[in-house]
Amino acid sequence: MRNLWNLIAQYHVALLFIVLQGVALSWFVSSHGYPRGKWVKRTMEWQGSWNQTRSQWLRLADLDQLNQELLAENASLRAELFALENGDDRTQIGSAEVIRSTWTGTANYFVLNKGIADGIAVGQGVIQGSYAAGKIIEVSESYALGLPLVNQEIEWSARINAEGPVGRLIWDGHAINRGTLLDIPISAQFSPGDPVLTSGFQGYFPAGMVIGHVAEDPTEFDGQFLSVPVVLAADFRSMRYVEITDIEDRNDIEAMSSQLSPKAP
């Protein structure tokens, strides 16, 4: 404060000149024909430009808010639809925004802008659009860490078609939209384009949620089981707004199943 006073004292003549000159010129331009017209025109241009920029910012902020609202509404509608289609009203669907994600490594992850305070918990599934995309593995008060399907360190329980055999879906670390469904019996009936769905066994997702579809590539046979190439439906590169699936009695089921077998399927 003292320095400020010293500064003002040192430059008081210049400051006084600027203030008084400002008053004089404002008075002048507001009362004269041509300068006034020119000044007003320039001021209008500046103000118009500033207002437009400000309005764009506000609109962007509004859009963000609108996006959040739509996402929440979408999640709620998806939960209702899912309940109607599958007769499963145990699944709640919430919404979140991806604030960080990787897809170029082999141990990819993403971070969501919601955490315990928003009802996010470890073990919940993450869907993008209507496609299974990952699961939550860690939560803090306001953020959640998740692993996408495209992570080499985890396996997912999936089946081909609604009534088809269940296998382990893995990602080999190469193409971001390709996975492999292992342990499919040779007797299984399927063809390229058939949907690959969540089994619901792991508790991350309800059963019947689309993961992808069977690819055109040839199926491999290891002597006992088939390895089916799968095209993943979620677009991991553009993951931004996602939905979180929460199965009501997931904890109870996990508690029971963990006593028998620590690993699904």
Binding site: V13, F17, L25, W27, F28, K38
Partner: protein, 172 residues
């Protein structure tokens, strides 16, 4: 006249003359504007602090603006001139500096000092004022020409006024 009142009279009389008689005095089709109030600014005592010079300039400018409905033009120009008064005083100061009894008049500082100071300050005032008045780049050259011609003629007028009104005193 009492020496304490003289500076105020020197500032106020030219102002009154300007407001009462010379406010429409623009001669030779605009090539000579007589700003008599500027003589008052020129006669502000040399020892007056720069801040006070600015305030006095602003007040005189405002009064002329009110009288002539010029809306800030005279205030702005007087301020611009007021800003340069201490600087020009310093530039034109004698080698040994000003004495406490020195005043910015021909009688005190000599005709060369007075002419140089008057012309420089009035030229600055007029350049600022005419430029703002023109407010267009295509008029600015004419405006500056008028400003310099007007400054020269006004300097001559002020010298004459000073020679006629000031009592003769020992020059430095």
């Amino acid at each position: 006249m009492n020496n304490r009142i003289t500076p105020y009279v020197q500032v106020l009389v030219p102002l009154l003359l300007q407001v009462a008689f010379f406010q429409y005095a623009t001669l030779f089709q605009g090539w000579w504007y007589i700003g008599f109030h500027l003589l008052g600014l020129l006669l502000i005592p040399l020892q007056r602090a720069a801040g006070w010079v600015l305030i006095i300039s602003a007040v005189i400018g405002i009064l002329v603006d009110f009288a002539t409905f010029e809306g800030g033009l005279f205030m702005s120009s007087a301020l611009f001139m007021g800003l340069f008064i201490p600087l020009i005083n310093r530039i034109l100061a004698p080698r040994e500096g000003y004495e406490i009894t020195d005043s910015p008049t021909i009688a005190s500082m000599g005709i060369r000092w007075f002419v140089a100071r008057t012309w420089l300050l009035i030229a600055l005032h007029h350049l600022w004022m005419f430029t703002w008045e023109a407010s267009r780049w295509d008029l600015v050259w004419v405006a500056w020409g008028k400003a310099l011609v007007s400054a020269t003629l006004t300097t001559v007028l002020f010298v004459l006024v000073m020679l006629l009104t000031q009592s003769r005193r020992k020059q430095r």
